[in-house]
Symmetry: C2
Subunit: 191 residues, 2 copies
DNA sequence: TAGATTGTTAATCGATTAACAATC
DNA sequence: TAGATTGTTAATCGATTAACAATC
């Protein structure tokens, strides 16, 4: 397998989608598939698929195509738990709860490792298997656990204070459900 | 004002952000701003700002910069109600209700013109000023009102049946909060 | 082997950034 | 006028698509 460095964000963002389509194929007992067939299925170009998959190594075989199970396992590994990007949820109110439950972070390559809120009524409650922490613990937590992504589910006013702090604490990506506009020069994640 | 044709989606997607920053400047009684200053504020390049704004006409003045109020008004007009892209909400359950309330479609250039659900308990209820309609009315509604964007807030199984139908009905953009992966060759909107 | 299909290089396309002449 | 700053062209950059030699 070739060096995984320099794989563009565009490619990485597409991996979960490959994963899902391969899962589907597996479910339907499809054992092999060509870039051309997969391309038609996913409504992308075959070139893109070959380019993308080749970032991680020669998974295919000339004249044959790709082994669905092998490819699925390879991508699973790349996206595997060890490779999931740690994310935190900030704001565990109605919006936060809904997002946490529905947005399927894992399928997108993220793993929720903590949830924070300032409301003491919520602190201590369980949310998708996590105990909601008080927002005052945010800094200490980030220093020790180094989450890379923050899912922002707080009102505008609260959000406006979070941006710089989080960036200082090492957060490099925001998935922003508040109406505040992070004027930080970091990637905002695509839904 | 020059021809507004051929303005890229990237530029259009940035307009709401310009709008918000100009609003802020107005609130702070700033009357003029150079592309350079605005660039620093928004953490983008001055070139990009000048290129973007010039898609719609020469709003600036050499040696002076941009008149904040004038520019704000121009962008307001471009994003104005008449120019808001009509959108529909599909799925008015907990997720749909939260999204409808929180995601601020208008700030992103969309106007919610209808909400649909299959649950008869929800049909008839009010949601952000709209009466929730039954999903069976979807097709008739789309034919007559031609929404361009659909905000999908239904479970995976329900979502999977919607994609092609909606595309056939003229929907060209999806803002997808379900876990179903629309394999349609249309733009998915960026959060 | 012959046909199919990858891996990979080259071409294209579009968006971003840089540069600067025009001009307020 | 002189300085500032736009409007706009040209250069750069990155991502996508096309093409095809390698090869299973």
């Amino acid at each position: 397998m070739k060096n995984e460095k320099n794989v563009s964000l565009s490619v990485i963002n597409r991996l979960p989608r490959y994963h899902r389509f391969l899962q589907e194929l597996l479910d339907n007992n499809v054992t092999r598939i060509s870039s051309d067939k997969l391309a038609k299925l996913m409504k992308v170009t075959a070139s893109q698929i070959r380019q993308d998959l080749n970032c991680f190594g020669g998974f295919g075989q000339q004249g044959y195509g790709y082994n669905v199970e092998l490819l699925f396992n390879e991508i699973s590994e790349i996206l595997g738990s060890d490779n999931l990007t740690p994310a935190i949820l900030i704001g565990a109110g109605n919006l936060g709860k809904t997002i946490a439950g529905q947005v399927q972070l894992k399928k997108r390559g993220f793993k929720l490792i903590a949830a924070f809120d300032k409301n003491l009524d919520l602190v201590g409650q369980q949310l998708v298997g996590l105990t909601i922490k008080h927002i005052d613990d945010l800094e200490r937590f980030c220093v020790s656990h180094k989450p890379k992504v923050a899912v922002i589910c707080v009102p505008k006013d609260a959000a406006s204070k979070l941006g710089d702090t989080l960036v200082d604490l090492g957060v490099v990506g925001f998935w922003n459900f508040s109406s505040y506009d992070f004027a930080v020069s970091h990637d905002t994640l695509t839904l």
